[in-house]
């Protein structure tokens, strides 16, 4: 018996995903494992109240869930003989899991993460499946967070599971040779979840789950299990960005730019942790794109006042980043840093070169960056046109309001 009374809700929050991950491996099927998980917790709620919590609740839940699933298949065998054969096979295979085998538990959890983030699944399906299976959010919570209907989201998850089954996506951690590339797909999902939460955090946040918190929690878990510097880099990046959360919008939800934010609102504990993690990632000697983006965020975090920002260093980091990822968005951000280092005319020349390539024609941030530099150069007529283009392209309400205000404040 455990000494401290543990509530079943706490156990569900702490262990249910790991139990699910192991059940999927043992049963070979997501849906069967989910039913088994719910059944196991239902039995636990009844029995533990009477007999107390067993010594190893996780192992108890796995074993109970597995037997519940086998029972269920046997009952279905009356209508479908194949289910009976599957039940017999699962029963005979047994499980030689050692309940205290930490690496095995972590392996199962990693299997679940890598399967949900498999690149053969569509990006939106990966995100939905990860939040549902790995983070344990309900379909309704995910739907609200992404402002989508629950049926649409449920269908996305059903389709993704069908592809895992029918195209035989294996329930496995990729082998060493493929790990780095496959990890990229996992980190992309984590960062997309973070960004969705971050960009929406000024909206009707009361009714939406904290996606930034989920993304950070997931990155922490990943970091415990995988000694890959980019996991550390991504965690640092998210912590540093999230440290500015309280400062980035007014109480009405209007955006506040970096140089106008009240830096005393930046969360120093998150900054300290982010900077320490960034140091770890750099010491590995294998520096990837997330680590470099974290290094840029760190330059801002280190500056007590906007004018203390080391723009020369930021341009250098962007140079390193463009070596790894060829992306016009990175080029655009670099051009903004160049404008801060060398003045608006130098930045504007670069932005116009990027605009001429055409890929970012529909990207509102290109036009708003251009508008801002034109404004600083006193070319108000051209600035007005660029702000208008940006306003037409922007989709998020706070960004639209911000651009509308800039347009209104522009001298005639």
């Amino acid at each position: 018996m455990t000494l401290a009374p543990v509530s079943i809700d706490d156990l569900y929050r702490r262990d249910s995903r790991q139990v699910l991950a192991t059940l999927i491996r043992l049963l070979g099927d997501f849906d069967l494992a989910e039913e088994a998980l719910q059944d196991a917790f239902a039995v636990a709620a009844e029995r533990w109240a009477r007999d107390g919590v067993p010594d190893n609740p996780r192992a108890w839940l796995v074993s109970t869930g597995r037997f519940k699933a086998i029972d269920k298949l046997r009952r279905r065998a009356r209508f479908d003989a194949a289910q009976g054969e599957l039940a017999d096979r699962l029963y005979d295979e047994g499980t030689d899991d050692d309940p205290d085998d930490r690496p095995q538990i972590e392996d199962d959890y990693l299997r679940l993460i890598f399967t949900c983030c498999h690149p053969a699944l569509a990006a939106d399906a990966r995100i939905a499946l990860t939040l549902r299976e790995v983070c344990g959010l309900t379909t309704e919570e995910i739907a609200r967070a992404f402002l989508t209907g629950a049926p649409t989201l449920a269908q996305r998850i059903v389709r993704a599971k069908a592809k895992i089954r029918d195209a035989r996506i294996p329930y496995a951690v990729p082998e060493a040779g493929a790990l780095a590339e496959r990890l990229g797909s996992v980190l992309q999902v984590v960062y997309l979840v973070f960004n969705e939460g971050y960009s929406a955090s000024s909206g009707n946040s009361l009714t939406r789950v904290d996606l930034t918190g989920e993304a950070i929690r997931l990155a922490r878990l990943l970091r415990q299990m995988l000694a890959e510097p980019e996991v550390t880099g991504l965690l640092a990046l998210m912590l540093l960005q999230n440290s500015r959360r309280e400062a980035r919008a007014t109480s009405d939800g209007d955006l506040i730019l970096l140089d106008e934010q009240d830096r005393s609102l930046w969360r120093q504990d998150a900054i300290d942790e982010g900077l320490a993690l960034l140091g770890d990632a750099f010491r590995s000697g294998r520096v990837g794109p997330y680590t470099l983006q974290a290094a840029i965020a760190a330059e801002h975090a280190r500056a007590a006042r906007p004018e203390d920002t080391d723009w020369g260093r930021i341009v250098q980091i962007y140079d390193a980043l463009t070596q790894i990822v060829a992306s016009p968005v990175v080029d655009l951000n670099r051009a903004v840093a160049v404008a801060m280092r060398d003045g608006p005319a130098a930045g504007l020349a670069q932005i116009e070169a990027i605009a001429a390539q055409g890929q970012l024609r529909g990207y509102h941030l290109l036009h708003s960056a251009k508008a801002d530099l034109l404004r600083r150069l006193g070319r108000y007529g051209e600035a007005r046109d660029a702000y208008r283009t940006a306003l037409n392209l922007a989709e998020q309400e706070p960004e639209k309001r911000f651009l509308a205000n800039r347009l209104r404040d522009l001298p005639a």
Binding site: A125, D166, A167, P170, A178, E181
Partner: protein, 120 residues
């Protein structure tokens, strides 16, 4: 001379078919398979799983890119095929990435339907 006969279908029409209509279509396929087997014309034939089970593999600058969904470009034309046996999708993707044409073109990986003709 060997020839490959590639079948293009509107999957939505197949899905909309009544079960018995679909079944008779499948039976016709199987009957033709038997006949061609008999006459020595058949090398292999199979039904593919629907497009939502497709994965597209490309190799660019030594990096393997894997994307969800079928190959859907009109610029490139079907140029060949490998019928392979693989343990799971990961192994199939690894093999597809070794096909030299993955460096310049795209390789769509589609599972073969394990039980022949199941309506999509």
């Amino acid at each position: 001379m060997k020839y490959i006969c590639l079948i293009y279908n509107e999957e939505s029409r197949l899905r909309a078919m009544a079960a018995d209509e679909y079944e008779s279509l499948a039976k016709e396929h199987l009957a033709l398979d038997d006949e061609l087997e008999e006459s020595g014309n058949l090398i292999a034939s199979d039904a593919l799983r629907p497009v939502q089970d497709a994965t597209t593999v490309r190799l660019r600058n030594g990096n393997l890119s894997v994307t969800d969904g079928p190959f859907a470009e009109t610029k490139e034309q079907l140029g060949g095929f490998y019928l392979i046996e693989a343990r799971d999708l990961n192994e199939a993707i690894r093999i597809a990435g070794r096909i030299p044409s993955a460096r310049t073109g795209s390789v769509e990986v589609r599972p073969i339907s394990p039980d022949c003709c199941v309506q999509p």
